[in-house]
Amino acid sequence: MAELLVLPALLAYGEAAVAYLGELRGPGLAGRLATWGVRLGWIAQTALLVGQAVSTDGFPWGTWAGSLNLFVWLVVGAYLIWGCKPRYRLLGLAVMPVAAALLALAWAGGGTSLADGHAAGLALVIHVGLMLAGFAGLTLAAGMAALYLWQERRLKRHERGVLRVRVPPLDALDRLAARSVLASLVLLALGIGAGATSFERGDFDAAMGVTLLILAVYAALLVLRHEGRRGRRAASLNLLGFALVAIVLPLTHFAQ
């Protein structure tokens, strides 16, 4: 029965994604409905994850679909930190459709079932948890970068409705995206450290290479930002890094 919790979670995330579109027309009921969709969906998904953890002996999120399930939970959880504030609601427009789509994919791949877990040592569990948390933070940072570029474009073009749709200030988006990247890099570094304990010579593969490249891109972003290259350039680099996370990393991971 617990695995059926994916349905309310999916429904609530989907409702939030649609309601955020309504918020675009102006602040009001649609935004509040979206926020409640996120909250209720996240609670349902939390219950699902607890159900999975309780019902299996090993690590229940060892498969790609299981990892995706956990990843979506982390992304939405991170979004909830800011997303409930009216000013930051529209960040949900960038995050929730992705979250709903990925959860549906995890469901289709069997990542939300109560099947037997995979045998895994503590180091591997910590490694997977930290890596997923890090990538969740980068997803959120990418959402902020996308929102930054969209709002900057509206301001540059002098769009008449620029004050009617509530979007976080450019400064705030730039700063929060940088902080999310920094926190994510720390999590990724710790995750890599945890994974290195079981690393053996000859284990190095393309996925690890891409992960290191991702670390390098985001580290470069932080350095350049420190040097004064903020705003549009930082947001663009952020999206480039996320393209590596979202496209290249899965390709190299599953190609093995």
Binding site: H158, V162, L163, P169, D171, G228, R230, G231
Partner: protein, 421 residues
């Protein structure tokens, strides 16, 4: 405490007033009152009165008795002096539900020139606090303040700027998270510069410098804004530190070129720059908008933003009207329930009297413990017995049948005879 006034079984609301809808400014300024004078008039008018006087309206809200309305009209025409004959046809009178609805619309900013403007709510609060209020107007004014707050929280009517200077300041908040540590450079010392500066200051910004061709004018405005005066040659240096630039000179040509701003970009280390050009012809080179991190708005851009937000305000006003109407209905129900309150009070007094006398008769036969138990049980029985009739009478009052129900209850329980006895 009785919910009704001392003389009248049911308090009635009256409004006498004049506003921008009914009278030109020449007439309104005659009857405009300073806060102290408005408070004095409220005290003078009767048992309960509140005088709301702003630049757009002077309105007297009072609990109606035989002469209250006439006294209010007299007071206003007296203020109008030799233009009293023009004032009388401009005065409007509203009563009860219509008067309450009007006050709620005023508090919500729906009767203002700019829908949803925020200042009026404070003015209603000040009038309430200075007024001669009793239970009736106290309830009315508190509900009006509640309506005003609710409309501003539940709709977006007050969120958008309604003027070009306010739009400039709102745009600054769209770029920067907080304006508290932001530095503003004013180019030009005219009225538009000052208005925009005041808007930015009200949102926390600091005016760093005022630049003007005539340094004396820059010094004058800078002194008022606690800023530094500079001449036009000093603008380049100021651009390095500025976060917001407001330009409004009467210069015939460009005052700040693209090259001027581009030269500062390296030193600004990626900080955003918002430039607001209020001058015609324009002071700032339009090509500045193409520079990274620079956002340039001229008067046309700002007016387009204001027009769009005003359209948004009107949409939100329609939502606000529904909220206000619902609150006015609540007030009407409360006011109508006052019709049956004396009957309910009499009925409760009668049954309480019967209970007391019966307890007194039985008192000698009961121990102290038994007496307390009987008291407790009878209190609960009476409360349960009277609960439903009380609710039904209030409901009937809201549906305009209150007087009939009250008469029936008085007749059935002999409340009139009780009173006469």
């Amino acid at each position: 405490m009785s919910m009704t006034s001392e003389h009248d079984p049911v308090s009635k609301l009256s409004l006498v007033g004049v506003s921008h809808h009914s009278a030109p400014i020449e007439l309104r300024e005659r009857v405009a009152l300073a806060p102290a004078a408005a408070a004095e008039l409220a005290q003078r008018l009767g048992r309960e009165a509140v005088v709301l006087s702003t630049c757009n309206r002077t309105e007297v809200y009072l609990v109606r008795d035989e002469h209250a309305e006439e006294l209010a009209v007299e007071a206003l025409t007296e203020l109008a002096g030799d233009r009293a004959s023009e004032l009388v046809p401009a005065l409007y009178r509203l009563r009860d539900e219509a008067a309450a609805l009007h006050l709620f619309r005023v508090a919500a900013g729906l009767d203002s020139l700019v829908p949803g403007e925020g200042e009026i709510l404070g003015q209603v609060r000040a009038a309430y606090e200075a007024g001669a209020t009793g239970p009736f107007l106290d309830r009315l004014c508190r509900q009006a303040l509640h309506v005003g707050r609710r409309v501003r929280i539940e709709t977006a009517i007050a969120e958008s700027p309604a003027s070009v200077p306010a739009a400039g300041a709102a745009l600054a908040q769209q770029v920067f998270e907080e304006l508290t540590d932001k530095r503003v450079l004013l180019i030009g010392a005219g009225k538009m510069s000052e208005l925009t500066a005041r808007n930015l200051i009200s949102r926390g910004a600091t005016i760093a410098a005022v630049a003007n061709r005539t340094l004396a004018h820059a010094e004058e405005l800078a002194a008022r804004l606690n800023a530094r005066p500079v001449d036009l040659d000093g603008i380049r240096a100021e651009l390095v530190e500025a976060d917001v630039v407001v330009a409004s000179t009467s210069s015939a040509g460009t005052v700040v070129s693209r090259a001027d701003v581009a030269a500062t970009l390296a030193l600004r280390r990626g900080r955003q720059l918002l430039l607001v050009d209020l001058a015609v012809p324009r002071d700032l080179d339009p090509a500045i908008n193409g520079l990274e991190g620079c956002f340039l708005y001229d008067v046309d851009d700002l007016e387009a933003v204001v027009a769009e937000t005003m359209a948004g305000r009107r949409t939100e006003a329609a939502r606000a009207e529904k909220l206000v109407a619902a609150e006015a209905e609540r007030f009407r129900e409360w006011q109508a329930s006052l019709e049956v309150v004396p009957t309910i009070a009499s009925l409760r007094a009668l049954v309480e009297e019967i209970r007391d006398s019966e307890l007194a008769r039985a008192g000698s036969r009961l121990s102290e413990r038994e007496r307390r138990q009987v008291e407790s049980v009878t209190t609960q029985i009476l409360a349960k017995l009277l609960h439903l009739p009380t609710i039904r009478m209030k409901e009937a009052a809201a549906a305009a049948d209150g007087v009939v129900y009250a008469d029936v209850v008085r007749h059935l329980f002999g409340l009139e005879e009780e009173r006469r006895a």
